[in-house]
């Protein structure tokens, strides 16, 4: 299955129908190991017939814009609203992608989302996982959707 295409389609659909922001998909990164600066990441675990996780990494400025558009409010700073919105974004992306991974998605379950925000951080998962990172741009800023799947 084409994971990159699934990630691109899912992300464009969710931004088009739920967040109401324009997004452009870019080509996947060859080297997925990135350091994120002044960013917030939403992460959700996948358990069941496919194990892994989905993460979305968003710079603070764009995270405020996404939260504002999603919740219909002005967002001045990185606060609980932004954490909830980015966690929910990860949740929606994972919900759609699990359907792409397994027919109707019934045999894959999602954990709760968690968010981490920092001035500079890197994300690492085990060597036995396959990682796909797809960049997108919105409002002139770049964000990343990352899917990790355990090799079986």
């Amino acid at each position: 299955m084409d994971l990159v295409r699934s990630i691109q389609e899912t992300t464009l659909e969710i931004f088009g129908t739920m967040i109401m922001m324009e997004v452009v998909a870019e080509e996947p990164l060859g080297e997925p190991s990135l350091l994120y600066r002044n960013s917030i990441s939403g992460m959700v675990g996948l358990a069941g017939t496919a194990r892994g996780g989905l993460a979305v990494h968003v710079p603070w400025g764009l995270a405020r814009a996404i939260t504002g558009s999603f919740l219909g409010i002005e967002v001045e700073e990185i606060n609980e609203d932004v954490q909830d919105a980015i966690g929910e974004l990860a949740n929606m992306l994972a919900g759609n992608i699990k359907s792409a991974l397994s027919g109707n998605g019934k045999d894959i379950e999602l954990s709760l989302p968690s968010t981490i925000s920092g001035e500079e951080y890197g994300i690492h998962c085990g060597d036995d996982s396959e990682i796909t990172v797809v960049p997108f741009t919105s409002n002139g800023q770049r964000f990343y959707v990352e899917l990790q799947l355990e090799r079986v």
Binding site: V44, G45, A47, L110, L112, G118, E120, H124
Partner: protein
């Protein structure tokens, strides 16, 4: 004790966290711990270091996060690997990922005893500076500090959401019919 809004609370979760963490540190890490009081999660800046995350899904959705400031992460890795580790590197990240995996395994067993069958996702680690964490609206989030004998403190965050009572009644009715 933390109770986020009107979310349903599973009793004994704090004892499960305590038991699961203590078991791993007693048997694998070989470091003595002094647990602190569990509180509800606050929007808070954690010291820079390594955090390990692992999702749980099934009859309850949850996520377990262990936040280790750099010196504590190095101590845990040193003790687990049996060699002195002074700087955060891939081995330290792997050690924290392994700890979160073991603790989540202990939580899975205890949740099953409490009637909640869950399965585990895979661990992810975050290495960073100025990392903020917080709860999630619509979920119960417990934060428990642990002091490591000889110095240092790490935090265990466990966030969960129980299915709505209606959905759960339906599930037990289905289970009863299947057993019937």
């Amino acid at each position: 004790m933390g109770r986020a809004g009107r979310e349903r609370v599973l009793s004994g979760v704090d004892e499960m966290i305590l038991a699961a963490v203590t078991e791993v540190f007693d048997s694998m890490v070989m470091l003595q711990l002094r647990p602190g009081q569990a509180t509800s999660c606050r929007y808070e800046k954690m010291p820079s270091g390594v955090s390990g995350l692992l999702g749980l899904a099934g009859e309850m959705k949850a996520i377990l996060v262990i936040h280790c400031p750099s010196p504590v992460a190095c101590r845990i890795a040193s003790s687990l690997l049996g060699e002195e580790v002074e700087h955060i590197d891939a081995d330290v990240e792997d050690a924290v990922g392994e700890i979160v995996n073991l603790v989540a395994g202990g939580m899975k067993d205890r949740l099953l005893e409490a009637g909640k069958k869950v399965s585990l996702a895979v661990p992810t680690t975050v290495r960073g500076r100025g990392v903020l964490v917080s709860g999630l609206s619509g979920a119960v989030c417990l934060l428990m500090p642990f002091d490591v004998d000889g110095g240092g403190r790490f935090w265990v965050e466990f966030k969960y959401r129980l299915p709505s009572p209606a959905a759960e009644d339906q599930t037990s009715a289905e289970a009863a019919r299947k057993q019937g």
